[in-house]
Amino acid sequence: MPAGYRRTLIRQIGQHAHSEVVGMLPEGNWITRAPTLERKCILLAKVQDEGGHGLYLYAAAETLGVARDTLIAQLHAGEAKYSSIFNYPTVTWADVGVIGWLVDGAAIMNQIPLTRCSYGPYARAMIRICKEESFHQRQGYDLLLKMMEGSDAQRAQVQDAVDRWWWPALMMFGPHDRDSPHSGDSTRWGIKRISNDELRQKFVDATVPQARVLGVTLPDPLLRWNEASGHHEFGPIDWDEFRAVVQGHGACARERLRDRVRAWEDGAWVREAASAYAAKQAAKQAAGQAAGQSGAPVAA
C-alpha cells in the first residue's frame, strides 16, 4: 500500500471517527430535556448510533495499523480535525431537529459515495453507517414537522434554528473544489469519488423542496431555481466564518474538546482497573494450570 494512500486514508477515517464522537455532544446536550418520552428515546438511540459509528471507524483505522488510543490522543491534543459543524451550539430543542434534517442530510450525501471507496474496511464501515443513518435524518425532519404543525412559538423556534444552521450545513461540503487542498489526492486514490461542489449542489437541490413542505424559508435571498441549469442557484458562502470555525474558533470548539478530554480522563481509572482485573484473572488461571501440571497446591 503506497505510504501516501495509507496516510490519506488514516487522516480521513480518523477525522470521520472523531466527527461522529464529537457529534454526540451537541444533540446529547438535549437528551435529558427532550419534551416527550418518545423523543427522548429516539434522541438517545440516535446519539448512541453516533457513538457506534465512531467505534466502527476507529476499528477501520485500526486495520491500517493505527491504534484507537493514538487517534484519540491526537484529537485531544488538537492535532486532528473533526467536522467543524459540531462547534456550533444547540441553543434550542428545534436545533436537534434541524441537525437531523440538514446536518445528517449533508453527512449522508457525503457518505454514500464512500460506501464504494477503494479501501474495503472503510467501505464496509460506511455501508453499516449509511444503513443506520437513514433514520437519523427522518427523525429530525419528523421532529420539525410536528413543531411546524404546532404553536406560533414552536414554528418560530424552528425558523430560528434553520436560520442559524443553513449556511454551516452548506459549509460541511468543504471549500470550493478549486480551493480544496486534499481533494486531488483523495480522488486519485478512489477514496473521494464526487467533488465538494457537486455534492453541495445535490444537497441544495434535495433540500429546497423539503423546506417548502416544512413551511420554513431558507435564509438565502439569492436562492432560486435556474431553469437553464436545472439546479437551484444559491448565494455566496462566508468563507471567513468557515475558516475561523475550522481553525478552532467556533462557539463551542473549546467546550467540545474539553468534554471529550474530561470523559477520557475521568474514565482512565475505569479502563486501568478493567485491565488490572483481566491481568489478575489471567495470572490466576496460569497459576492454576501450572499447579495442575505440577501437582502442587494452588495459592489462594
Binding site: 427532550a34 419534551p35 418520552l37 404546532g150 404553536s151 475521568d266
Partner: protein, 269 residues
Amino acid sequence: MSTTCDGAPAPPDAASAPGLAAARCAVLLGYGDTALILGQRLAEWCGHGPVLEEDVALANIALDLLGQARLLLAHAGALEGRGRDADQLAFLRLEREYLNPTLAELPNVDFGHTALRLLLFGAFHVALWSAVQHGRDPQLATIAAKSLKEARYHRNHGADWTVRLGDGTAQSHDRMQRALDALWPYCSELFTASPAEQRLAAAGAGVDPAQLRPAWEADVLPVLAESNLRVPPPTPFRASGKRGIHSEHMGHLLAELQYLQRAFPGCRW
C-alpha cells in the same frame, strides 16, 4: 373513598374493586417512576462514558428503562381514568407526586457509582419482576416478563463492572468502597412497602417488596464479596422517595426533565 394516583377523587367507574384501583395505580406509578428516573440518570452518560463501548451499552440500558417507564406510566394513567397519558404523568407532576425510591434519583458521581447502582437496582428488579409476572393484572404481567429479561442484563452489566472495579486497582477499589458506603443506606427503602403496596399485598393483588429482600441479598452479597467490598453496617437512615419525600436532587432533575413541557404548555412534539 376512591382516589386517583395522586390523591384527588376518582371517577366512580374505577378499573377494579373500589379503593384497590387507587392502590394499583400508585404502585404502577412507583414502578414507572423508578424506571423513568433511573433511565434519566443513565442517559446522562451518553457521550461522556469511559470508553465508547460503554456509551453504547449504558444507552441501551437507559432505553430499556425508558421503554418500561412508558409502558408502566401508560398503564397507570389508563387505570386512573383521568385521561392522563404517560407523558403527562412523566412531565407534569410535582415533586411530591413522584413515587420512585430515592436511590434512583441520586446524581451520578462516577462510573463506579453508576455501575454499583445498576447492580443494586438490577438485582432488585430481577426479584421484583419475577414475582410480578405471576400477578393478576395481565397487562402488568406482560410488562414484567419483558422487563425481567432486561433486568437480568442490567444486573449482569452492573455486577461485571462492580467486580472489575472492586477488584481492579487500589484506586478503583477505594472509589467502589466509597460508592457502596454512599448507596447502601438507600437500599432498605427498596424493601419497605408503601401504603399502596401493603394494601395490594394484603388483598393478594400485589407484591410486598419486603419478601424480595432475601433473594436480593443472596444475589448481591456474593458479588460484593467477590469485589472485595465491605458492606457498611446498618444505620437508622431511611430514605423516603417512595412517599414522595425526595432528596434535594430530585427538584433539579425534574426541572431539567420537565422544562420544555412547562415552557410550551399544551404543545405537541
